[in-house]
């Protein structure tokens, strides 16, 4: 208990120091006047959704915001619905959006009249990982088994994932290129839906984020085959990485927050401080360790530069898939 209180004081102190150094605009100049809408670029139950809701809970528990944060799912059209919503709310100070990589890919693939360069970057919270999964009832134990099974299916192998052109489909395309295989990609509206369909036997494999499949994995329903990470994921110590198996396949999912164009600088400072405090909270640190997330905090101009760099990378990736527009 005392530990908790001291920690809170420490955080408060850290926050105050942070605010004082963040002159000339301090977050105290501005506080939200009504509940803040947190738009989620994906449907319910997926990795992005669970994470956004976790953030909301920590913010609420640790009193990091003076007003409640209300998560709203706008997952339609691979997140296009959410991007459009953000673009339509220019100058709004009570709106933030939880992003994933479709933040770049969706506007690259479809002309929805959105330029992410105009949005205000707030904070990058973490980089999420990808794992190749099969149903635990299948005979596939290793990557070699997997590739052989896909080849034997003659293209009818069902790989489930989120919307076409989104992360899961990019990882799938990377797999196809690397191994010279071809699968039938079936899009679902969220990662949770994908995991359920894999357990139910309606699809043959997935590239879910660990958090999406963890519940089923622990219940012995799903089997991880290989991780798309440079090093083994601590939550799955027995699962080899693609690199170990001799294939240079690494893909990350960024978990960040952005705000509409022309948000007041005071509001930007407020949310940035809020997420900075969040990133130091005990809950977040435990969560990242347990759920195989790489906490990698980034804000402001550096974050914008990262976004633009990633956008360029994804443009190339989409181009190589013949998906770009």
């Amino acid at each position: 208990m005392t530990y908790k209180i001291t920690r809170r004081i420490a955080i408060a102190a850290a926050a105050t120091v942070g605010l004082l150094t963040a002159a000339p605009v301090t977050a105290q100049d501005w506080t939200p006047e009504r509940p803040v809408e947190m738009v989620i670029m994906a449907g319910t139950g997926g990795g992005a959704d669970r994470l956004a809701r976790l953030f909301q809970s920590i913010i609420q528990k640790e009193n990091l915001s003076t007003m409640p944060i209300l998560p709203v799912n706008k997952g339609g059209g691979s997140g296009a619905e959410a991007l459009r919503y953000l673009a339509d709310n220019e100058g709004e100070n009570h709106l933030i959006m939880a992003t994933l990589n479709s933040y770049y890919t969706t506007p690259l693939r479809t002309d929805i009249g959105v330029n992410i360069e105009e949005f205000t970057p707030i904070a990058r919270m973490a980089l999420d990982t990808f794992v190749l999964w099969v149903n635990a009832d299948s005979d596939i134990e290793t990557l070699d088994d997997y590739v052989a099974a896909v080849q034997a299916s003659g293209g009818s192998w069902k790989m489930g994932g989120t919307g076409t052109g989104q992360e899961d489909s990019l990882v799938t395309a990377m797999l196809e290129n690397e191994f010279g295989i071809s699968v039938t990609y079936v899009p679902f509206s969220g990662g949770g839906d994908v995991a359920r369909n894999l357990v139910g036997g309606h699809i043959d494999s997935s590239v879910n984020n660990p958090s999406e499949a963890l519940g089923f994995y622990q219940a012995g329903e799903l089997r991880p085959i290989a991780a798309f990470t440079p090093e083994r994921i601590s939550a799955f110590p027995d699962t080899p990485t693609m690199g170990e198996l001799g294939h240079d396949l690494v893909y990350w999912m960024q978990r960040s927050f952005v705000a509409p164009k022309d948000m007041a600088p005071e509001a930007v400072a407020y949310y940035t401080a809020m997420f900075e405090n969040l990133s130091q909270s005990e809950e977040w640190q435990t969560y990242t360790a347990e759920k195989a997330l790489m906490a990698d905090f980034l804000t402001g101009e550096e974050l914008q530069a990262y976004f633009l760099e990633e956008r360029a990378k994804h443009a190339d990736l989409l181009e190589s898939m013949g998906e770009g527009s």
């Binding site: 319910t44 139950g45 959704d49 669970r50 809701r53 976790l54 909301q56 809970s57 609420q60 528990k61 409640p68 944060i69 209300l70 998560p71 799912n73 706008k74 339609g76 059209g77 691979s78 997140g79 296009a80 619905e81 459009r84 919503y85 673009a87 339509d88 969706t106 693939r109 479809t110 929805i112 009249g113 009818s156 069902k158 919307g163 076409t164 052109g165 039938t184 990609y185 079936v186 899009p187 679902f188 509206s189 949770g192 839906d193 995991a195 359920r196 369909n197 357990v199 139910g200 036997g201 309606h202 699809i203 963890l214 519940g215 089923f216 622990q218 219940a219 329903e221």
Partner: protein
């Protein structure tokens, strides 16, 4: 017997004085939130969710369950009194609830709705208690082909058993499906049907906007015309005698309500289906099996009881995939799922084993919330009925304001208000031409699910349409759909043939 032990522990928590107070507070708030057109359990739960950090998780989940149930009861109130379904789950309640209110039997309809909700809630919670763990596997067996077949079944129930003009019903379903494609395509992300380049259409057309427009504004326009500007008052009264009579009437409906509950629970349990098709199918089934079938749509009490048992049962059922699979079946359960994540609980197959306290606390609170909701609801019926005694000229202004505010509040876009007015005028004209509104509204709700599951199936089966028929579950649903669809077609063909022969004979 382990089950009973768990349940007893759960009750020990949910029956403490503070939790009982929370339940009463929750159901009362939920009732009013649900009764407001435009606000539903989603809004109620969303507003209260942050408050739950003040109280321990077990009390918090009780509060949320109480609001959830209260709002489900409340949804029927605006369907019956105003004819505006506050949520898609309450659309079927308008079919007979509204005519009953117009005949001066609003009190009876409300009693029927409350009692039916209670029965549906209770039966489904008992089913939940007994079979929660094994039933999770049934939910897993549901893939895209089954989802498609189920929605198709809901639509054909409507065509086959709806009683309205079949051709007009089909036209309205098609119009609703067309409206449901507005916005961004679920699978490819391409924008579709963005009228006049209005950015508001990117997020599609929401159920609320269409329902408030056609039912709310459209109904007001229609009533103004039919009442010819004479200020009419809907006769409405409620006495203790009527309450007793209501219970006696409901007592006769055991069969209807049991069917409705079981059907509602199972349909609600299926991921993505939820309470809307459940209520619709229960209505269809009740009409098919009732001796009183011809009276449906004209103020039959069974027509209120069946969908109300089913939608409450379904709201319990939809908790099942959320708890056991982590897949929320409705927007409200998605919020509850968020709440669980906040309290550090991992929904999934292991939740029942690792967190029995939480799970059984929730289940027992469903029992108490349900009981509290029916009592509060019955006690408040006189208040609701009193509202109907206002002269129509006054009531219509209030309803119109409620409609516009209710349509603006969730999205806070003026775009939606204009759409409501547009749909109101359109709905009024279609109503004058005797087109039913319900198929339109329901097609908008179920359309996206239908399209998505249809395309997912075709993609994964390499374009093989037979996949829908080859799988046992979806094959059964499709077969039933065909039967329901052909039922009225055969009837009308026979009638047509008969009239044709009589008409043709003299000419020949």
């Amino acid at each position: 017997m382990e089950l009973l032990g768990h349940l007893a522990d759960g009750f020990a928590t949910s029956l403490s004085p503070i939790n009982l107070f929370i339940v009463l507070l929750g159901v009362t708030a939920g009732l009013f939130i649900g009764a407001m057109p435009g606000l539903g359990s989603v809004n109620g739960v969303a507003i209260v969710l942050p408050l739950t950090f003040i109280v321990p998780p077990s009390s918090a989940i009780i509060l949320l369950a109480a609001i959830y149930y209260g709002a489900m009861y409340g949804g029927a109130i605006s369907s019956i009194l105003l004819g505006i379904p506050g949520a898609s789950t309450a659309v079927a309640t308008t079919f007979d609830g509204r005519p009953m209110a117009q005949q001066g039997k609003a009190g009876l309809a409300l009693i029927a709705a409350a009692t039916a909700s209670f029965v549906g809630g209770t039966i489904s919670v008992i089913l939940f208690t007994l079979f929660a763990s094994p039933l999770a596997d049934v939910a897993l067996a549901f893939g895209p082909p089954e989802e498609f077949a189920l929605v198709l079944l809901a639509f054909t129930t409507f065509v086959g058993l709806g009683g309205d003009d079949v051709l007009k019903t089909i036209i309205m379903i098609c119009l609703g499906l067309a409206l449901s494609t507005v916005g961004l395509d679920l699978i490819s992300g391409q924008p579709r049907l963005i009228f006049f380049d209005q950015p508001g259409f990117y997020s599609g057309i929401s159920f609320l906007v269409l329902a408030i427009g056609t039912y709310g504004v459209g109904e007001i326009l229609y009533t103004i015309e039919t009442s010819k500007s004479s200020p009419t008052v809907t006769p409405a009264k409620i006495t203790f005698k009527e309450l007793k009579y209501g219970f006696k009437e409901m007592n006769k409906l055991w069969k209807t309500m049991s069917f409705g509950s079981i059907m509602g629970f199972f349909v609600g349990m299926l991921p993505a289906a939820g309470a809307t098709p459940a209520a619709l199918m229960a209505y269809g089934l009740a009409k098919l099996t009732s001796k009183n079938g011809d009276n449906f749509g004209k103020g039959a009490i069974e027509g209120v009881a069946a969908p109300e048992t089913a939608n409450n049962a379904a709201s319990t059922g939809s908790l099942l995939p959320m708890l056991t699979l982590g897949i929320p079946g409705s927007p409200t359960t998605a919020l509850l799922l968020g709440g669980m994540v906040m309290w550090g609980l991992v929904p999934g197959p292991l939740l029942f084993i690792e967190q029995p306290d939480f799970v059984w606390g929730l289940i027992s609170s469903l029992y108490t919330a349900n009981l509290a909701a029916v009592l509060v609801n019955l006690a408040l019926i006189p208040v609701f009925v009193w509202a109907l005694r206002m002269p129509f000229t006054v009531l219509c202004a209030i309803v119109l304001i409620l409609c516009l505010v209710g349509g603006y509040a969730p999205s806070q876009k003026l775009h939606d208000v204009w759409l409501i007015i547009g749909f109101g005028v359109g709905g009024y004209l279609l109503r004058k031409a005797d087109y039913p509104m319900a198929p339109l509204v329901l097609a908008l709700v179920l359309g996206p699910l239908m399209e998505k599951s249809f395309r997912q199936t075709l993609i994964s089966e390499q374009g093989n349409v037979m996949a829908f028929i080859e799988r046992p579950l979806s094959g059964t649903f499709i077969a039933l759909s065909v039967i329901f669809f052909l039922l009225p077609l055969l009837n009308s063909l026979r009638r047509l043939a008969r009239s044709k022969t009589t008409a043709d004979n003299p000419a020949e």
